[in-house]
């Protein structure tokens, strides 16, 4: 489809997604168990992201083809959740995993070079903890 920025396909490949510290935190959680399906609430608790931040990021990842989504089927529901509505599940696609690994590595590299120069702000420190920065672990 033609838009003022080009075709949709071109847009998907050319538009880069901003890798904010919240996006990195989410990617970190998804990459940790790449083949497993994740639930929204569990991701929110794991990453400490509010739902109002988490879901727009999930939506953007899905829009770019990096996130696979699926609804639970009622037959597959465990006994203790019988009668409850099926939940939406997420995991990274193969392309998404490659991109996420690349983005996380780039962020680790950037945070290493910065750590030599300056004291980290608390928010960045949080990201580095999430990314498993070896320097911080040593400290």
């Amino acid at each position: 489809m033609a838009t003022r920025f080009g075709t949709s396909e071109q847009m998907h490949s050319s538009k880069q997604m901003r890798t904010s510290k919240q996006t990195l935190a989410l990617l970190n959680a998804l990459v940790a168990k790449p083949t497993q399906w994740h639930y929204g609430y569990a991701l929110s608790r794991e990453t400490e992201l509010m739902s109002g931040t988490l879901y727009p990021i999930l939506m953007r990842l899905e829009e770019r083809g990096w996130l696979e989504t699926q609804w639970e089927t009622s037959e597959a529901l465990p006994e203790d959740r019988a009668g409850r509505p099926p939940r939406h599940m997420y995991r990274l696609t193969a392309g998404g995993r490659a991109w996420a690994t690349e983005a996380l590595a780039a962020a680790r590299g950037a945070s290493k070079s910065k750590s030599a120069r300056a004291t980290l702000k608390p928010a960045r420190q949080h990201t580095r903890i999430l990314l498993g920065d070896p320097e911080l672990e040593r400290a």
Binding site: M1, T3, R4, F5, S8, M11, Y39, G40, Y41, M50, S51, G52, T53, L54, Y55, P56, L58, M59, T69, R84, P85, P86, R87, H88
Partner: protein
């Protein structure tokens, strides 16, 4: 066998049941609110809203659910924004309807409404009233007018400003200037004296008034007000003074006596209105906040000392009658009734006339039985007839049309309509302007011809002209009585109805802003609230309109 639970555990269970009931009520509310979010979510990405909703049963506490709900609202906002701005929106596939000749014609018709004086004046007056510092701006404007008038020796205009400006030291100094320029304007010293009497520059004004217009009760009433200021030099005499201290002051009561025994009562109301109209016409202003703000205050003189003195006198009259001194009793009652007759005959406002009737009623009520007891039956019958004619509610007793509940609610409704229609007009014209700029860009550049903004601009350009036309027409219709009242006040002979009508119309323009100002919403700009209210009304109308449309379509399909 069932296990028997200890009492404490049972109680604990009750408490838990209570907590769970409360929790289930709040969870129920949150679930309903989330369903609303799902229904409002753009259809092409509604799965995400359902995904968020499906997580709700996992929440362990109400606080978590509320936080999840807040996230849902935030995500809904983002989804709407993306829907409006994203150029790869699926809706782009649907053809967009561009504004046509009809939209252009309606826009021209809407703008033509501004040629109608009531729409034009109404929009200016309402928007001016929204300025948070418009009182200061008005004061500055009035003082500038006074300075220019002083330079050209125009004492009337200086007097006009002196009686209107809200800064009391300026009012006193300008009053003194106007009287020194033209001593025939000495009467202005009595106008608004209840607010200026404690300003040092106003001392001695009662003596000037008495010398200029001997025999007028008003000079003594002004002097009584001076005494109030002398008794409480640091306080505002009307609102703050201790009433008992003043009412027991013999000099203050003596001023009341002199006013009561005066042969004339002239509040100078008609002089003031005539001066007001002359100056307003020469200034060429039609702003209801300037024209209408002073009509009811003109010639307002407090008769408090006379009321106090006369009630004392009537008490003395009754006491004299009881001890057999009928002559003294009759004389005192006559003095009060006579002052009432003078006020009714000379009073230039409905307030003066009603005040006079009240004095007459009190005097005659004491006098009538005294005359009857003396056997002066004809005179007693005449007084009884007069008493009947002026009893409260009698046709001749006069009645205010203003300040009644129905009058005030009409004013408030007119005010709300006027302000909301002006807010709508501004909202629609701003939207139309922005849409026009985008569509102009689209006419020259391909880049502007797709995406949410282009679609929104087309939609606004098609519908906003109708909204603009309707809001300006409503403004013209609601402001029309105000414009008529202003024209009538400036150009026709003055009657009580004219000033009351004008004051009412002035309140309808100023009331909504005053309401916002003196409520807790004061820190925000009135225009902010007007636009918020207009947007709210628009949203409600859109929801109702869509529901009706959907119902009609369903019925047709059925």
């Amino acid at each position: 066998m069932f296990p028997i639970k200890p009492m404490r555990e049972i109680n604990n269970l009750d408490q838990r049941a209570n907590n769970s009931r409360q929790q289930s009520a709040s969870q129920k509310f949150i679930a309903i609110a989330f369903s609303k979010i799902v229904s409002l979510w753009p259809a092409d990405s509604r799965d995400w809203a359902l995904a968020m909703q499906a997580e709700l049963p996992q929440m362990e506490s109400t606080q978590q659910s509320l936080s999840w709900l807040a996230g849902g609202i935030m995500s809904l906002g983002k989804a709407w924004w993306n829907g409006a701005t994203s150029s790869d929106n699926k809706k782009d596939l649907a053809p967009v309807k561009k504004p046509g000749i009809l939209a252009a014609l309606v826009t021209v018709a809407a703008l033509a409404i501004l040629l109608i004086p009531s729409a034009n004046q109404g929009l200016r007056a309402v928007v001016t009233s929204w300025q948070p510092n418009h009182e200061a701006a008005q004061r500055g404007q009035l003082l500038r007018i006074a300075r220019e008038a002083e330079l050209r020796g125009d004492a009337k205009t200086v007097a006009f400003v002196a009686m209107r400006v809200d800064s009391l030291p300026d009012s006193v100094s300008l009053s003194n200037k106007a009287v020194s320029m033209d001593p025939s304007l000495t009467w202005i010293l009595s106008q608004g004296f209840y607010r200026t009497s404690w300003i040092p520059g106003a001392r001695g004004w009662s003596a000037k008034l008495e010398a200029w217009d001997p025999g007028n009760a008003v000079a003594f009433l002004v002097r009584a007000q001076e005494r109030v200021a002398e008794l409480n030099p640091d306080l505002n005499p009307i609102t703050q003074s201790p009433r008992e201290q003043i009412e027991n002051d013999p000099r203050w009561l003596d001023d009341g006596r002199k006013a009561l025994e005066s042969p004339r009562f002239d509040s100078y109301r008609n002089r003031r209105l005539a001066l007001d109209r002359d100056v307003l016409r020469s200034l060429g202003t039609t702003d209801p906040e300037i024209v209408g703000s002073d009509g009811l205050r003109a010639g307002w003189i407090s008769t408090w000392p006379v009321q106090k003195y006369s009630s004392q006198l009537l008490k003395d009259a009754k006491a004299a009658s009881e001890r057999g001194d009928k002559q003294t009793a009759k004389r005192d009652a006559w003095v009060v009734a006579h002052f009432g007759e003078i006020m009714r005959a000379h009073g230039e406002s409905e307030v003066d006339r009603r005040s006079g009737i009240s004095f007459m009623r009190s005097g005659y009520a004491v006098l009538q039985p005294l005359l009857a007891a003396e056997g002066r039956t004809d005179e007693a019958a005449m007084v009884a007839e007069e008493l009947e004619a002026i009893r409260p509610g009698a046709p001749g007793a006069g009645a205010f049309t203003i300040w009644t509940d129905s009058f005030m609610s009409r004013i408030k409704v007119t005010g709300i309509e006027m302000h909301l229609s002006a807010a709508f007009a501004i909202l629609f014209s701003s939207a139309l302007l922005l849409a026009g700029i985008w569509l102009l860009g689209a006419a020259y550049s391909e880049d502007f011809r797709s995406g949410g903004f282009y679609r929104a601009s087309c939609r606004i350009a098609r519908h906003a002209p109708t909204g603009l036309l309707a809001s300006l027409a409503l403004l013209a219709a609601t402001y029309s009585p105000v414009a008529d009242a202003v024209t009538e006040y400036l150009n026709k002979p003055i009657s009580n109805a004219t000033t009351e009508n004008l004051a009412g119309m002035y309140f309808s323009v100023s009331w909504p802003v005053q309401f916002l100002k003196y409520s807790n919403l004061a820190p925000y700009h009135p225009m902010f609230w007007m636009i918020v209210m207009a947007l709210g009304a628009l949203t409600i109308l859109t929801i109702i309109g869509r529901n009706l449309l959907n119902r009609t379509m369903r019925l047709k399909t059925a």
